[in-house]
């Protein structure tokens, strides 16, 4: 267990190590970072043999057992497929980046984020605990945010990063909701154990919420319509990031989630129908969009969305054939798409542009790269004998035998695939053929790694195509039964002449024809812009903008930086509360008896208080106001004397005196005591203050009619002498029963005194004078 936990955490520790190395040391040994994915790839490969024989590895450590959150990892064949993809493509990308971003001043930071991402992704696909799965899911979103916004000096990069984070972050919250709900309903947070409560996922009061949450999570992460728009924006990231995160691995997390929960939902037809519809819309929409893009990465972005749509669509069909097709297609897509992205990256690196209308004839200089591009394009188009051909066969096999309406499903698949052939050829072949435009200038030969890395991936496409048994025994043989309970169909490159071969031929022919007939241009691209107003992206942005303006408005209204405004808002609200209370329960008791019983000294005190308050408020001189305030303090003193509080009287007397002295001493040089506010404001404040005072007085009178609970008082009265040996109960409370509070109070006073002393001693700096 500890070894496995270490492996999952290794990437995070490694990123810390890179950070510790510092930019300068790292620059001289960039190859060092690639050791991480390569060794992880080797580690996970070592599991291949036992897992192929049907073993499943569990690693369990209790983490927060009271909340059922555990470090619970489970390496089965589905997880193995993803770990190999993550570490395999990771190794290629890490090595490729050493040259692609050579000399970049923030290269170390780049590798730090990339390592964190890889660790998060490995954790995601091996977690058996739904909560840890969520944590790793969010970590991938966060690392993706930093990588999309890697060129943080460009505002478009930052914007894209924020859009991507908000969309995938929203999905992450939905995943948490799904996890908590499923955990509460099934009584376990272990994904494997949840399988024992199939009724929760099939037909339960809350099943609909489970569906909504898992769909939100998966569709946002895997860029399904209408949440797809963050992915093309994410292409602002450096190409290795696009290759790794936004095509080969991270965007497949949603697919992984759906596949992982396919067994749970196997009796839920809504699950599959929704996936079928959303997948179909996404793949057709995105594949159609590729026609109107001129940026190579834009084309790849939409063809990635289309491919993700195909995967969701295949899961939606829900047969063992379609699941097998989805799994093979994951492998196929990862290989050819990563390869095409790296080819694009190298073209961009050497030629300085990714604009398809400006590229051509690069085969002369970039010969090896063009071979990689060609193979990848062929695999993308499903040409034999690449693995793409097998993938395409399986897709048609699945649609032809797929329940609802085979004709419609197959037609949609063929249409999408024709466009995918087109997109593949456009990216992998077009830049290398024809004549080289003069504007490109002289193009240098790329570093060995820049063509060799895409070549490896392309070669694998070819290898798996020639030996499909490798894919079968490694993956589909075990995964399909794991997910559907049925055996997987046999993978082969040749099934004899049948309808499927015919459809494949139509697809390829259609794609090639489209490639020759349809020339992408800026004119076509801009012709699509007028539809953008209604695209999900602009709607989402409008919503975000509205939300932002609303919060600006609220902030400006309630927190405008003027103290008066804050006080006013609080007071008006309080006045309303008191006022409503007074008007709802009018219980006012004013008796003449009260007036009759007044002594002359009480009358004098009250009169003095009243006069001093009014004087303080309305006087035009600061000194008189301070004097009035002092007199008010002394009348308080008198009240304390009359009503049995000599300690208070003494304290009030000394403190009041001190305050007045301090006031006069410190403030005698202040400017004239001005009336700064206008009449309207004064009247308004007067009304608010008076009504607050009035309602408060009413409320106090009402409260005084209640019989107070005196148990605390009685406790002190009885125990002051017995326990604390003091006869002045107030003093005993302060220095004995609540002695600790008093000590803290003294500390506060001491701090205040230090502050006063410091402020008085602090001399003005020159420019402040």
């Amino acid at each position: 267990m500890t070894v496995f936990l270490f492996v999952i955490l290794a990437s995070f520790l490694f990123s810390l190590l890179l950070f510790g190395m510092g930019q300068k040391v790292f620059k001289r040994m960039t190859w060092f970072a690639s050791l991480l994915p390569i060794s992880l790839f080797l580690y996970f490969s070592s599991f291949a043999k036992p897992i192929m024989n049907g073993e499943v590895f569990n690693f369990f450590t209790a983490w927060v057992p009271s909340m059922s959150i555990n470090l619970d990892f489970r390496l089965d064949n589905l997880a193995l497929l993803f770990t190999l993809l993550i570490t395999g493509v990771g190794s290629i990308v890490f090595l490729y980046t050493t040259q692609y971003m050579k000399g970049h001043p923030k290269l170390m930071r780049f590798y730090v984020f990339l390592s964190i991402f890889m660790g998060a992704m490995l954790g995601l696909v091996t977690s058996n605990n739904i909560i840890t799965l969520f944590i790793f899911w969010e970590l991938t979103s966060i690392s993706s945010f930093f990588l999309i916004g890697f060129n943080n000096t460009e505002s478009s990069s930052r914007k894209s990063a924020i859009i991507a984070l908000s969309i995938t972050g929203l999905g992450g919250l939905a995943l948490l909701a799904f996890g908590v709900l499923a955990g509460q309903l099934t009584g376990t947070y272990s994904i494997a154990e949840m399988l024992q409560s199939p009724e929760i996922f099939a037909n339960h009061e809350y099943t609909v919420y489970l569906l909504i949450f898992i769909f939100l999570a998966a569709f946002t992460k895997s860029a399904q319509f209408p949440f797809h728009f963050w992915l093309p924006g994410a292409m602002k990231a450096p190409t290795p990031v696009s290759t790794y995160l936004h095509s080969a691995t991270m965007v497949k997390a949603g697919i992984y989630l759906l596949l992982r929960f396919t067994p749970h939902f196997q009796n839920n037809s809504y699950f599959f129908t929704t996936l079928l519809i959303v997948g179909a819309i996404t793949m057709l929409y995105a594949a159609f969009q590729t026609l109107f893009k001129t940026d190579l990465k834009g084309i790849l972005a939409y063809s990635t969305i289309g491919a993700l749509g195909i995967m969701v669509f295949l899961i939606g069909i829900g047969t063992s054939a379609s699941i097998t097709a989805a799994i093979v297609f994951i492998v196929v897509h990862a290989l050819y798409k990563a390869s095409l992205f790296l080819v694009t990256g190298t073209i961009d690196h050497q030629a300085g542009t990714r604009d398809i209308t400006k590229l051509g004839g690069l085969r002369k200089v970039l010969m090896p790269l063009s071979i990689a591009g060609l193979i990848a394009a062929f695999s993308s188009g499903g040409f034999p004998p690449t693995v793409g051909f097998i993938g395409k066969d399986l897709i048609y096999e699945a649609t032809l035998n797929g329940g609802l309406n085979p004709t419609v499903l197959t037609t949609m698949a063929v249409l999408t695939n024709i466009l995918m052939v087109f997109a593949g050829l456009l990216v992998g072949v077009k830049p290398f053929t024809g004549k080289q435009p003069v504007e490109l200038g002289r193009i240098k030969k790329p570093h060995f790694l820049l063509w060799f890395m895409p070549m490896i991936l392309a070669a694998l496409s070819l290898l798996f195509g020639l030996f499909p048994a490798m894919v079968e025994s490694l993956f589909t043989h075990n995964i399909t039964p794991l997910l559907t309970g049925e055996a997987s169909p046999h993978l082969a490159i040749w099934h004899g002449f049948n309808l499927i071969i015919l459809l494949s031929a139509i697809t390829i022919a259609g794609g090639i024809a489209l490639y020759f007939l349809w020339k992408p241009s800026h004119k076509k691209e801009s012709s699509m812009i007028k539809f953008n107003v209604w695209s999900p992206k602009s709607l989402a942005l409008k919503f975000a903008d509205l939300f932002q303006r609303l919060s600006y408005f609220l902030t400006r209204t309630f927190q405008n930086g003027y103290l008066r405004r804050y006080v006013l808002i609080i007071l008006v609200l309080l006045t309303l509360v008191f006022g409503v209370h007074v008007f709802v329960n009018p219980r006012i008791f004013l008796s003449v008896k009260e007036i009759k019983e007044l002594n002359w000294n009480e009358i004098v005190i009250l009169a003095m208080m009243l006069v001093s308050v009014i004087f303080t408020v309305f006087t035009k001189s600061r000194l008189s106001a301070i004097a009035g305030m002092g007199v008010l303090g002394y009348t308080m003193c008198l009240i304390f004397v009359f009503y049995g509080a000599p300690d208070l009287a003494m304290t009030q007397f000394s403190i009041d005196t001190l305050t007045v002295i301090l006031f006069v001493l410190v403030l005698y040089r202040l400017p004239k005591y001005l009336k700064l506010s206008n009449r309207t404001n004064r009247v308004r404040d007067g009304i608010i203050a008076t009504s607050f005072g009035t309602f408060l007085a009413f409320t106090i009178i009402e409260i005084m009619n209640e019989t107070p609970i005196k148990s605390t008082t009685e406790y002190y009265a009885e125990n002051a002498y017995i326990l604390a040996k003091g006869k002045n109960v107030v003093n005993v409370i302060l220095v004995d029963f609540r002695g600790f509070d008093t000590m803290i109070e003294i500390s506060v006073l001491a701090i205040s005194a230090i502050g006063v002393f410091a402020l008085l001693k602090l001399h003005l700096k020159k420019h402040e004078k």
């Binding site: 003027y562 103290l563 305030m629 008010l632 009030q652 008076t690 005072g693 006073l749």
Partner: protein
């Protein structure tokens, strides 16, 4: 007397709040002081008014007996008076400092940090 003092508490609150809403820093502090007096009076009233019988245990007794003023609100108020002195003294010195630097005691001109360089 209780009711009259309750009304007086209301007046103190009103006066304190009115001064706090002024733009002058000095008025703000005076307002806080008056409001503090109002709060103390309120707490005092809540304990009930008892004339001339402070909570002192007689020489020959072991406990307070009969009618006596409530010691708990008194302890609270005593703390409040002392703490508010801490606040006031610091605020007063701060005003002086603010005036020295900004040459004004108008709060409305003090809500931006950027003006002080």
């Amino acid at each position: 007397m209780e009711i009259l003092l309750a009304i007086m508490t209301g007046i103190l609150y009103a006066a304190g709040i009115y001064l706090i809403l002024r733009r002058s820093l000095v008025k703000l502090i005076i307002g806080i002081v008056i409001l503090g007096n109002g709060v103390n009076l309120l707490i005092f009233l809540m304990g009930g008014l008892v004339k001339g019988r402070p909570p002192l245990i007689p020489e020959d007794g072991n406990a307070l007996e009969g009618i006596y003023a409530d010691p708990v609100p008194q302890a609270l108020i005593l703390t409040a008076i002392v703490i508010s002195f801490g606040l006031q003294s610091f605020a007063i010195v701060l005003i002086k400092r603010a005036y020295k630097v900004l040459k004004t005691d108008d709060i409305d001109t003090m809500n931006k940090t950027d003006d002080i360089t």
